[in-house]
């Protein structure tokens, strides 16, 4: 009896995966637990394990195919087994272009239309009324039937802006799963969370001096070096503990606001073709050195694409730092389901007035983006004031 191998759901937010590489050839013997393919998800490239022993009879999906969860990607069985009957009777989702030959369309049918599309009559009419292409849609009814609900969901999507064909050539780049995830999550955040922004210019003189002392000591003892970002992470944790509304989620589907008892800070890390946010856990319970070491390790593994999806999930607050590019200040888009994100600018050498004298000073702009559904202006401002206090007098972090 042939066994279907289907696209697994590998992360909580995964909707489809790209089969980037086959690790086994057709006809080869495999055992349960063998890694048979690699799939790129919205978070990372991950291994597909076989759940059964057998011979890989057919690679149904081709490398590069983007497939929804549950799509048939391969068939296992015993050597020499005939799988045509199995394929023609297969009722799950087909990989694009992988229709069994026994079900080939009549000559007159347009190419690629031989898959029987199941659509409720109502959905078919609604699609025609709105000029929707059913072929590109996924049905949520039995056997993938496209139903009214699917059409309504499709219609509620903002209409894509028509891209004029200028006739000039361009280099097409495949949209990666990570890029799709960034697009989906940030668009969702901007559409659903009403953002407002609170900026403040922080005096970093003491922070600069303290960091210098800590790092010269670390150099002598071989300890971990601290970055300004680590200092901000630590100060954020201390401030969040005093302002729980900022460390929360607006969970309207459960009719509640979740004020988290833990502080897990996501840190935006630029990677080659995108952006990931590894999470430093329980920051309020950790010292600066520990935060620094953990952040550095996570960032390194992020850049080499080695992070596991669970290492990027569950943040309660996020920071994004573009200071290293010389950016003075910017506004960040909230990383859902967080309530706030902190944008950190560069530390600037600026003339400041102290006791009536113009003297050299260190300043850093930070901007808090707040989801107004859960954080109001005064709430956010009080958090920013606390955070500023910690950064301007880092010694108070010891209190």
């Amino acid at each position: 009896m042939p066994i279907a191998v289907e696209m697994p759901k590998m992360t909580d937010t995964m909707e489809e995966g790209v089969l980037v590489q086959w690790n086994v050839e057709e006809g080869s013997e495999i055992a349960a637990g063998d890694i048979i393919a690699q799939v790129e998800t919205d978070k990372a490239t991950m291994d597909v394990e076989a759940y059964d022993d057998g011979v890989l009879l057919r690679r149904v999906a081709a490398e590069g195919d983007a497939l929804p969860i549950g799509a048939l990607i391969a068939v296992l069985g015993t050597k020499g087994e005939n799988i045509e009957a199995f394929l023609s009777g297969y009722s799950g989702t087909w990989s694009a272009g992988a229709v069994p030959e026994t079900e080939a369309a009549p000559e007159s049918a347009p190419a690629g239309s031989s898959r029987r599309l199941k659509v409720s009559p109502l959905a078919r009419r609604m699609a025609a009324d709105h000029g929707l292409k059913l072929e590109s849609m996924t049905g949520s009814g039995p056997d993938g039937r496209i139903i009214k609900h699917d059409i309504e969901a499709e219609l509620s999507q903002p209409a894509p802006v028509a891209i004029p064909d200028s006739g000039r050539s361009y280099k097409p780049v495949r949209i990666t799963q990570m890029r799709k995830a960034i697009a989906r999550r940030l668009a969702q955040s901007k559409y659903s969370a009403p953002h407002f922004y609170l900026s403040v210019d922080v005096d970093m003189e003491q922070a600069v001096a303290s960091r210098q002392r800590l790092n010269s000591r670390a150099e002598q003892t071989g300890g971990t070096k601290i970055s300004f970002n680590d200092l901000v992470t630590k100060a954020c944790a201390a401030s969040l503990a005093q302002h729980p509304a900022v460390n929360s989620t607006y969970a309207v589907e459960h009719n509640e606001i979740r004020l988290y008892n833990h502080i897990d800070v996501g840190i935006a890390v630029a990677v080659e073709d995108g952006l990931v946010t590894p999470v430093v856990r329980s920051v309020d319970e950790k010292g600066l050195a520990e935060i620094a070491a953990e952040t550095a390790a996570l960032a390194k593994r992020a850049r080499s694409r080695e992070l596991k999806p669970e290492e990027m999930e569950g943040s309660t607050f996020t920071t994004s730092n573009l200071g290293m590019f010389g950016i003075e200040d910017f506004t960040a888009i909230i990383n859902p389901p967080n309530a706030c994100i902190l944008a950190i600018g560069a530390i600037r050498d600026v003339p400041v007035i102290k006791d009536g004298q113009v003297v050299p000073g260190k300043r850093m702009k930070i901007t808090l983006s707040c989801d107004h559904r859960v954080v109001d202006g005064a709430t956010g401002a009080r958090f920013v004031a606390t955070l500023r206090g910690y950064l301007e007098e880092p010694l108070t972090l010891l209190m």
């Binding site: 409720s120 009559p121 109502l122 959905a123 949520s140 009814g141 139903i147 009214k148 609900h149």
Partner: protein, 327 residues
């Protein structure tokens, strides 16, 4: 409004029509001396005398034919069958004479006659006494078929049936004779034949049910409401001519149809409704039409099997959830 049992509402219609029109009479087994097997005609013999409330021998074919002859000659008989199961021996009179002679005589003879009595399941009475007959009589052009679910409709529709110049098959229910309900006291209360009743408005799914099945539909709608979905419940009241407009416009609104029908499933009223709706509402359906019917066997005797055999509110509710794709 008066609170009446369904049997009292049927009686009220008979009494009113017999008082109004001397050509109307009631005939059947035990209707006079015994006051009716289900006490529908209680007191009527005393009131109208033995010439207008007439006991018959146990010979359904005979008194059905006698009624047709009377109707051909200008009277307006109401023929009571003790149950519709017993009318099978009179079926030639109903189908070959009542339904067809007006057509075959080129309109020279019509039959202003009502055949009435309880229809469908009536408890542990086994296979021969639990038949639902509406689909049988509905398939012969020339007959009107009415099936009522409550006292108010019983009164208003029976009065209309007695005044109608065509033969009417009027289906009541042993289980429902004792059911109380508000009945209009409006003088000459007539409900038009061929008009369905929207019993409950909703937008999620249409449920159609007549006679006892109407109550299963209403119970299912209640259960569905607890889930946050509002079913539209339609009691067709008249099976033939059927009020297609009511069901079609409802399904065009809800996009889903569940039918509850106590008949055996093959070629039943629910089959016809399903056919008509798919042909008239094809582009409006978001799910296949579902129906809940009696099982495809003769009615069992054992109580547990009888419960299993009949359509239930739970099954109807589940069918609604299925067509809403909720599970």
């Amino acid at each position: 409004m008066a609170q009446l049992q369904l049997r009292e509402a049927v009686r009220a219609a008979l009494v009113e029509e017999m008082s109004r029109d001397a050509d109307v009479f009631l005939m059947g087994e035990e209707v006079a001396e015994y006051n009716g097997a289900y006490k529908v005609s209680e007191g009527m013999r005393d009131r109208f005398g033995p010439n207008r409330v007439i006991d018959t021998p146990i010979s359904e074919s005979g008194f059905a034919g006698l009624g047709l002859g009377a109707a051909m000659n200008g009277l307006r008989p109401v023929i009571e069958f003790m149950t519709w199961n017993f009318a099978f021996v009179a079926i030639d009179q109903i189908i070959n004479n009542a339904a067809k002679i007006r057509y075959m005589s080129g309109g020279q003879f019509s039959f202003p006659i009502v055949f009435r009595g309880p229809n469908g399941a009536a408890g542990q009475l086994a296979a021969t006494h639990n038949t639902s007959v509406e689909s049988i009589y509905s398939c012969f052009p020339g007959l009107k078929v009415i099936s009522i679910s409550n006292p108010d409709d019983a009164k208003g529709l029976l009065k209309s049936a007695i005044r109608d110049n065509d033969p009417v098959v009027f289906l009541e229910s042993e289980f429902m004779y004792g059911m109380r309900g508000e009945v209009s006291e409006e003088e000459d209360y007539l409900i038009p034949i061929g008009k369905a009743r929207i019993a409950r408005e909703g937008d999620a799914v249409t449920i159609v049910g007549h006679n006892k099945s109407y109550w299963r539909a209403m119970e299912a709608a209640e259960m569905l409401e607890a889930d946050g979905y509002y079913a539209e419940v339609i009691d067709p009241r008249t099976i033939r001519p059927f009020d297609w407009d009511a069901v079609v416009s409802s399904v065009r609104k809800t996009n889903r149809l569940v039918i509850v029908d106590e008949s055996n499933p093959f070629a039943s009223v629910s089959s016809e409704i399903a056919f008509q709706v798919q042909s008239r509402c094809f582009d409006y359906l978001d799910a296949p039409v579902r129906r809940i019917t009696a099982k495809d066997t003769p009615a069992p005797y054992a109580k547990n099997l009888m419960t299993y055999y009949l359509p239930s509110a739970e099954d109807t509710y589940q069918a609604c959830r299925d067509v809403l794709y909720l599970d």
